[in-house]
């Protein structure tokens, strides 16, 4: 057959279905672009040059971006396949018609292959070109996020581009093969007689309803009852799985259940608005419940990702400042009989050698151990609690002299008396505390301030216990009762601030000098840590934003396609209603409330999920950084509002399309 004709058929087919095809191309192009950007970043000379990290932590960035690109890859396959199926739905009639017109299977395959070629080529070219343009912008943005100085010059990764093109060519190829395998050169009469066969009113699936209710309650309960970072990860997974099941089950069964209840309430049901909406929704839910549940899950994912990345990012600086109270900190285990003055002297020497001007020097020593708090509140060796993380604490033991020195106070203690701070338990003066089998009388409740000059104790994963004891002899006596512990040591910290002009070379000299000292010590430099920190959190944030954008686009596409297919189904219905005397304005009202309910139900549910999950997620984030409730909740509110805004915009655009289809003048 004439190949021009087949080519023309392919073009006409695309043109006739442009309402379905165009969004598909755009969404695909966006996916290609995201993939291209991520792959190019991995290869970018501004991040890794010849296998060497350009800045500290660059390998973290590469790792996160790689993980991100794998997620995008998996997602792209699912996403393009879904879109492809919708596009093909619209084609069914055309393909049948080709069959009626006498095209052979081979001809139809050619037409489809041509169409697929046009769609895939335009998507890939658009995506790759957009990706290439965006690439440098993204590098700059990434540099900004991770607080690296600006760089100039262009960047193009041939390897990334090649990989992107090949990957998507394969995905589109699989879609095409799927389409070719499912061609039906159908029977013309069947095709002309559209899907206007009546269908049964959906029944409530009670089993699913019960499963949904139980899983929702369980999931929510787990999320709400979690109050500890150690169980947060496990519980978060459990809750996520349960709530996902619940969302699907309740959207499918619960929605029909509620609608049936509404229908049974005659007073409510027999009102113009409700009458039409309730019955329409019943059928819509029957077909779309799973899709809406997917939108809900995706939306929850987007909000979750954005909230976590925003929180990580907003709290980054605060966390660094809490973790590193001094610019440079020397840390050593004091088990070699070295005196604090000797440590101080080494630091003084090293600072002088490196030519650094230091200030705010502090020298601190604490005994630090892990302990277990038994059910009756007494402190015992960590081996006793069978390593139950929830009852483990960090125990600091200070002598009274040390305490008075660090805090500038003038407390006094007799033997057998202690001062106590506890992050977990209530401390009352005058009560007794059993430590390692001996009772001590608590003389006074103190704050955790005595630790704060070196590090913020609240940054620790474990809650802390601070015990101040009369003198060294008492301390020795106490610790000798706990011979099983292998992690308890005196820890020495020497911290100081340096002037802004301090260079990395100077810090290098400082470190080298300290290493030569006659004891083992490690030195941390805040700027180093900051760089690593930002490369990790900035990387997560950066990739998180990309994934969120992709999920959002997926959501938008599902909504759009749903609206379109709904529109065609509802067109006839509203014609009949119009004949029965439903005015256009009333129809608009009915359509609006119905569509609103359909499309805001998933987001509303997603936001509720997010609110319920906020605590467990905050605790989960606690594994990597300290999250304060206010900032975190603020992040949830801001992200939810932004998401709602974008979603509303999408809703407005798509409902206009829907309205055009249902009530428009165009046939």
């Amino acid at each position: 057959m004439n190949h021009n004709l087949l080519g023309n058929l392919a073009l006409t087919g695309l043109k006739n279905n442009k309402k379905a095809v165009l969004p598909y191309i755009l969404a695909s192009a966006f996916t290609v672009m995201v993939m291209h950007i991520l792959l190019s970043l991995i290869d970018s000379k501004y991040i890794m040059r010849d296998g060497v990290a350009v800045f500290k932590g660059a390998n973290n960035i590469v790792m996160f971006v790689s993980i991100g690109s794998i997620v995008v890859g998996i997602f792209a396959v699912i996403f393009l396949f879904y879109g492809n199926q919708f596009v093909m739905k619209g084609y069914k009639k055309e393909i049948g018609l080709y069959g009626v017109l006498g095209l052979s299977r081979k001809n139809v395959s050619t037409v489809m292959a041509l169409e697929s070629l046009i769609i895939s080529t335009s998507s890939i070219v658009l995506g790759v070109v957009a990706g290439a343009f965006m690439n440098k912008l993204m590098v700059l943005w990434l540099y900004r996020i991770i607080k690296q100085p600006f760089v100039s010059g262009m960047d193009f990764s041939l390897r990334g581009t090649m990989f992107t093109v090949i990957f998507f060519a394969i995905v589109f190829g699989i879609c095409l093969i799927h389409n070719l395998l499912t061609i039906r050169l159908g029977n013309p009469i069947e095709l002309l007689k559209s899907d206007n066969i009546g269908e049964k009113e959906p029944k409530v699936k009670y089993i699913l309803l019960i499963i949904g209710t139980i899983t929702l309650l369980l999931g929510y309960m787990i999320a709400l009852s979690t109050d500890n970072t150690f169980v947060a990860l496990g519980n978060l997974f459990k809750a996520m799985i349960l709530v996902t099941i619940a969302t699907y089950a309740l959207f499918i069964a619960g929605s029909i259940f509620v609608l049936k209840l509404l229908k049974r309430n005659k007073k409510y049901y027999y009102q113009t608005k409700h009458f039409i909406s309730v019955s329409n929704l019943m059928y819509r839910m029957k077909h779309n419940a799973a899709g809406l549940a997917s939108i809900c899950i995706l939306s929850t994912g987007v909000i979750l990702l954005l909230v976590c990345s925003t929180a990580l990012f907003m709290l980054g600086e605060q966390n660094i400042n809490s973790m590193f109270r001094r610019d440079v900190v020397l840390h050593a285990m004091n088990d070699e009989g070295v005196t604090l003055d000797e440590y101080d002297a080494v630091v003084t020497k090293a600072v002088k050698e490196a030519g650094i001007s230091d200030s705010d020097r502090i020298v601190r020593k604490y005994y630090m151990d892990i302990c277990n708090v038994s059910a009756d509140g007494s402190i015992e060796c960590y081996t006793k609690g069978s390593y139950d993380f929830t009852s483990m604490r960090v125990l600091y033991v200070l002598t009274l002299d040390e305490y008075n020195l660090y805090t500038g106070q003038k407390e006094t203690l007799d033997a057998g008396e202690i001062l106590r701070y506890s992050a977990g338990a209530k401390v009352k003066a005058g009560e007794n505390l059993n430590i390692y089998g001996s009772d001590y009388k608590i003389k006074k409740k103190i704050s955790s301030k005595c630790l704060e000059e070196v590090f913020d104790p609240s940054m620790s994963l474990f809650d802390e216990e601070i015990i101040v004891i009369a003198d060294n002899a008492e301390k020795e006596k106490l610790l000798s009762q706990n011979p099983e512990s292998f992690v308890g040591f005196d820890q020495v910290y020497v911290g100081f601030n340096v002037s802004k002009e301090t260079s990395y070379e100077q810090i290098g000299i400082l470190k080298d000098t300290i290493i030569k000292a006659p004891f083992e010590a490690s030195v941390t430099y805040k700027e180093d840590e900051r760089s690593t920190f930002y490369s990790i959190y900035g990387g997560i944030f950066f990739v998180g934003i990309f994934l969120a954008a992709l999920f959002l686009i997926a959501t938008v596409m599902i909504i759009f396609y749903k609206q379109m297919s709904e529109g065609f189904e509802d067109k006839k219905r509203f014609e009949i209603l119009s004949n029965a005397g439903l005015s256009e304005r009333e129809a608009k009202g009915v359509i609006k409330s119905q569509v609103m309910l359909m499309f805001f139900l998933p987001v509303a549910t997603a936001i509720i999920h997010m609110i319920v999950a906020s605590k467990i997620i905050r605790l989960f984030l606690g594994m990597i950084l300290y999250v304060d409730t206010l900032t975190f909740n603020l992040a949830i509110i801001v992200v939810s509002l932004i998401f709602l805004g974008v979603y509303t915009l999408v809703y407005n655009i798509t409902s206009k399309q829907y309205y055009n289809i249902v009530y428009g003048k165009e046939a």
Binding site: N196, I197, G198, E199, K200, E201, K266, K267, Y269, Y270, Q271, T272, F275, S279, N280, M282, Y283, R573, E575, I576, L577, S578, N579, A580, G581, L582, S583, E584, R585, E586
Partner: protein
């Protein structure tokens, strides 16, 4: 006063560019008295459907007026027209136009619900109608579960539930087998006998023979009318067949 007056109605369709125009209705002029049963016959393309759409206020005439109960529909706004339509007119369509996601009962109640009536009074209105039409057993079924004849009777019930001034029927027997068609026509005649004004557009000579008056439309004009007077139904049918033959012959003449 006639319940329906069609005053020199003209309808011209223009193509998008406005270069070509098609005259669907040249000059249609007639009136229907209260309680009359009028059938309108004509070939496809004669302007029947256009006329019905204009009568139903779904379309606006290019010139002329349609008065229902002395009121002009075309002067109204869209929303008001919809309300006028549901208050004054009842519709029956060839393809029933039932909503497949409503039960038979809810399909019948639809106009009442649209009119915002209290749900408590609805059942009282539905009960006698469905009894008369013999569909009281089907109220909780869905359209796809009942036969074509039953669907059309549901449509009749839906059309009559608001006590309309005029019942407009567009080819009501078109999708029914002969038995169901006869049944339906008997029912329409009974409804007419109880005082209902009916205006029916049809192809079917048999269906038209149930009417008091048959109007023939050709090329957008009322071409011929037959009044039943004292004729029996079979006499009426003969007369209609005769007229149709004449009409067709005339049509051939004009073509040659």
């Amino acid at each position: 006063m006639p319940v329906l007056e069609v005053n020199h109605v003209k309808k011209i369709y223009k193509t998008k560019m406005g270069t070509n125009s098609v005259t669907a209705l040249k000059d249609v002029h007639f009136s229907v008295e209260k309680g009359e049963f009028v059938a309108i016959m004509g070939e496809s393309g004669s302007g029947k459907t256009t006329l019905l759409n204009i009568l139903a206020s779904l379309d606006v005439p290019t010139a002329g007026k349609v008065l229902v109960d002395g009121k002009d529909f075309s002067a109204l706004k869209d929303g008001e027209r919809a309300i006028m339509r549901r208050n004054n007119l009842g519709f029956i369509f060839q393809d029933f136009n039932l909503l497949d996601n409503f039960t038979i009962e809810d399909n019948i109640k639809l106009p009442l619900v649209l009119a915002g009536e209290d749900y408590k009074t609805m059942d009282a209105k539905v009960a006698p109608l469905v009894k008369e039409l013999g569909i009281e057993q089907l109220l909780h079924k869905y359209p796809y579960e009942v036969s074509g004849g039953q669907k059309q009777r549901t449509a009749v019930a839906r059309a009559l539930i608001t006590n309309p001034q005029i019942l407009l029927a567009d080819e009501p027997t078109g999708a029914l087998d002969s038995k169901a068609a006869t049944n339906l026509m008997h029912q329409l005649r009974d409804i007419h006998k109880s005082g209902q004004t009916i205006l029916m557009v049809t192809h079917s000579n048999v269906a038209a023979s149930y009417a008091d008056r048959v109007m023939f439309i050709r090329d957008g004009e009322v071409f011929h009318q037959i009044y039943r007077g004292q004729m029996s139904r079979s006499e009426m049918l003969d007369k209609i067949c005769e007229s149709v033959t004449v009409l067709m012959r005339g049509g051939e003449d004009s073509e040659s």
